[in-house]
């Protein structure tokens, strides 16, 4: 609630309340004024009605005295009536304005003010006495003391009893004999009206305040509070808390907004969680691949180290064995000149012994280097293929795969390293199995071929899998290229195989029939004499 009036510019509720409040105040004022006017009019018409009865009463009270022309009685009657509360003055005057009788004795004999309603009520122009179509018989005016009064005028018409009366004052053809005028105070009425006005104003004010308060509360409940709740939610989201949920249960537009907002947050959170998961997976995958690369690199470095050790030991062997040959030979030749068992012959034996020791050290070094680095040897491709196939047949991955083998007769000798070749063949078979989703048949065939005049051994692996897309073919041997699911392939198998075969002077060829399968041909130079 405290936010409601902090700054009208910043609060929808305040704006709404101010606008509604203003409207209510204006409407109430109009209403109030209309009621006030109506009341005034009603009161006035009642006052006029009573006033007319009053003037009629005066006429009746003085009738007898008029007919008998008892002027003092008429005067006395008027004075008596004037003593009643609220009656200010009573006068009777002729149609020319000469005052005959008045409750205020001083007036008698005077003429009425020609500008007063006594004359202007019926005549628009006093000099040319035309009668107004609707004569005005009363008026409200304010006295010098500020008291509101009602002036009423009634005509005294000519009657047979008037012009036949003994006094013969009035001729028969005169229609109006005179006027009765009464001034009655409206002070009491004014007071009542003022009180009623005050009460009405108070009612209107209370009404305005109550309506504004009610609107304020309603507004706070259905607009300000939910909007604040949403704003808070957005602030939380901006801070990064996607677990926030706006607590708005209404089913109106704001409720819908909150519902959508909450749904959006939920989606965002799910997306964020997914992203985090992906990032983690990616990090793990990167770590895995980095480790693989490092391992491969370490292996390569080790191989390279051993190879250079081998080269170095060969160089040392050559360079040192020659001088050692000189030492040993000359020591032997010299030894022959001395008798067996002589101290000179024994010393020369020491020289020979030490020289041979040097030679042995070099030989050991060479042996170590050669033993550590993989050494190419003549191996039979058929035999290695058989070994590889029997190795995998028991594995679950190959249970639903039929192997069709067609091996060239005899030994297919090539120069290579057994376990490296096994790795290549195993890789081909795993790829074939994956391409067929572990179900289908694989043809493994070996044959002797001629490649540009040189004898080669070709090993074919043909699967009945999905084949390879033409666009993937150029990337096939690139490191880390794979079409397998994340957990299955590292994208290193074919690139490593390619490296091994290339190192042995061979190559791998691919033929793909998309949708039907793929064939891989591993070609290696045949061992033995070149053609």
């Amino acid at each position: 609630m405290k936010n409601l009036f902090r700054n009208p510019k910043e609060s929808i509720a305040a704006k709404l309340i101010i606008a509604t409040g203003l409207l209510i105040v204006i409407l109430s004022l109009i209403f109030w004024y209309a009621i006030f006017l109506k009341q005034q009019k009603d009161v006035m018409s009642i006052a006029v009605e009573y006033g007319n009865s009053f003037t009629d009463f005066i006429k009746r009270s003085t009738r007898h005295s008029m007919l008998s022309l008892h002027t003092s009685t008429i005067q006395k009657t008027l004075e008596d009536i004037d003593t009643a509360e609220g009656v200010e003055r009573i006068r009777i005057y002729s149609h020319t304005g000469s005052i005959f009788y008045s409750s205020n004795k001083k007036d008698v004999g005077n003429s009425v003010n020609k500008a007063s309603i006594a004359c202007t009520g019926c005549h628009d122009n006093i000099r040319s006495p035309g009668l107004l179509p609707e004569p005005k018989k009363w008026e409200v005016y304010k006295s010098a003391e500020g008291v509101t009064s009602l002036k009423l005028i009634d005509t005294i018409g000519n009657e047979p009893s008037c012009y036949t009366a003994a006094c013969h004052v009035h001729p028969e053809n005169q229609k109006i004999l005179g006027f009765v005028e009464a001034d009655i105070s409206l002070a009491l009425l004014d007071k009542t009206l003022f009180r009623q006005g005050l009460a009405l104003t108070a009612y209107v004010l209370i009404f305005v305040v109550a309506i504004s308060l009610f609107l304020g509360i309603i507004n706070y409940k259905i607009v300000t509070h939910p909007v604040n709740e949403l704003a808070k939610g957005m602030e939380e989201v901006a801070k990064g808390d996607l677990g926030y949920s706006a607590k708005i249960n209404s089913v109106d537009e704001i409720g819908m907004l909150a519902k959508r907002f909450n749904a959006m947050l939920k989606d965002l959170k799910a997306a964020k969680d997914q992203r985090i998961l992906w990032t983690e997976t990616l990090e793990k995958e990167i770590a895995k691949k980095t480790e693989e690369i490092q391992r491969t690199q370490a292996g390569l470095m080790q191989t390279e180290k051993l190879a250079s050790l081998g080269r170095m030991s060969a160089g040392i062997a050559h360079e040192i064995n020659n001088p050692l040959t000189g030492v040993v030979t000359y020591a032997h030749l010299l030894k022959k000149r001395f008798p067996e068992g002589s101290p000179e012959a024994e010393d020369l034996d020491v020289i020979i012994e030490q020289a041979e020791r040097c030679s042995k050290i070099i030989k050991n070094l060479q042996t170590f280097a050669r033993a550590s680095a993989p050494e190419k040897e003549e191996i039979d491709v058929n035999r290695i293929l058989q070994q590889t196939l029997s190795m995998i047949r028991n594995q679950e991955k190959f249970h639903n795969i039929k192997f069709i083998t067609s091996f060239e007769k005899g030994e297919l000798r090539i120069l290579g390293v057994t376990n490296q070749l096994q790795q290549v063949f195993l890789n081909m078979l795993i790829n074939a199995s994956d391409a067929m989703h572990e179900k289908g048949s694989v043809t493994v065939a070996t044959r002797r071929i001629n490649e540009k005049g040189d004898p080669f051994v070709e090993i074919e692996f043909t699967d009945t899998g999905v084949g390879i897309k033409e666009t993937d073919l150029p990337k096939l041997f690139e490191p880390f290229f794979t079409t397998k699911p994340q957990d299955k392939g590292t994208g290193l198998g074919l690139s490593v195989s390619h490296g091994i075969i290339k190192h042995l002077g061979g190559q791998i060829k691919v033929r793909s029939r998309p949708g039907k399968g793929a064939s891989f041909f591993v070609m290696l130079p045949a061992a033995g004499e070149k053609a």
């Binding site: 050559h318 360079e319 064995n321 040959t325 000189g326 030492v327 030979t329 032997h332 030679s359």
Partner: protein, 120 residues
């Protein structure tokens, strides 16, 4: 007289062959390179050639091939300071009759050379 040709780029080695084998009754001629050895063979015939595998001008294997091609009767004994089993195998395949590692004991050299002549 049993004639031996020594082909080795190192003088000390050539001379030690001469010093060991001459007293044993062999006629020893020396060549300091593969080319020199080949031209010596063209001039006269030798029963046994002692051949080093690593020489600056011509690879020992190529010398071996040429000797076996042109003078198949001549026995070739490879004498090397370094050798791999493959190189030994290759040499034997190309027609070398024996292989001796450097450094060698003079008596063993004499024995191997004598054996080569006897197998003739």
């Amino acid at each position: 007289m049993k004639k031996i040709l020594v082909i080795d780029d190192e003088e000390i080695i050539r001379k030690s062959f001469q010093k060991i084998l001459t007293p044993e009754g062999f006629e020893v001629k020396l060549a300091s390179s593969g080319h020199e050895g080949i031209s010596s063979l063209q001039k006269e015939s030798f029963g046994v050639v002692l051949l080093d595998l690593k020489m600056p001008d011509m690879d020992g294997m190529d010398v071996l091939k040429e000797i076996k091609e042109n003078w198949p009767e001549t026995k070739v004994i490879i004498v090397t300071g370094y050798s791999t089993p493959e190189a030994k195998e290759e040499a034997l395949r190309l027609g070398a009759s024996d292989h001796i590692d450097k450094p060698f004991i003079p008596d063993i050299l004499t024995e191997r050379v004598r054996k080569a002549f006897n197998n003739d």
